[in-house]
Symmetry: C2
Subunit: 104 residues, 2 copies
């Protein structure tokens, strides 16, 4: 879980996921196109995404094809985000209530 959060913390990596979301199964070179960093930098980002299981890659001849795995993102939504959405008052009204309580 921590690896997923860490992987998502970087804007370049999120944009790589976006690209794969638009078109799945791209090669490394595909994913590099138009980005303001070297191929090696992209390789490193992809390695982090793979380690977090957000991307799965396969060698196909001399190309490496990258596939998005939406499962960890879904899990974060289910296991983490939703927890903070359940039955919450708005921040401000909750805050006022507690302040009043504290001052008697």
């Amino acid at each position: 879980m921590d690896e997923v959060f860490k992987a998502l913390a970087d804007a370049s990596r999120r944009s790589l996921l976006d690209r794969l979301h638009v078109r799945n199964g791209q090669t490394l070179n595909d994913l590099c196109a138009g980005l303001a960093m070297t191929r090696q930098a992209v390789t490193k980002h992809l390695a982090i995404l793979e380690a977090a299981n957000l991307v799965t890659a396969f060698r196909h001849g001399r190309e490496k094809l990258h596939y998005l795995n939406p499962v960890p993102i879904h899990q974060i939504g289910e296991r983490w985000i939703r927890k903070f959405e359940r039955g919450k008052l708005t921040a401000l009204s909750e805050l006022k209530r507690q302040l009043e309580q504290r001052d008697e």
Copy 2:
């Protein structure tokens, strides 16, 4: 948005949010209790959470009260997580489909 992702990338900070989710409006000292780091480290984490608007804090006499703001978390769920959940096949079947397509 980037600030929120970055803020959520650290396990200590997520645990601070958890604590505030259990009991809102805690002081700095409350939040330090039982953690394996100094008060100053916690202060820094809280500053990052505040900068990301995930926590709002108020001085009340000599105490500083911290309140969870669930809105940015909700927004990440809405604007980002959901995008990857819409109409997606499972990673594996999608992958197979595309590989077959590529080999004719």
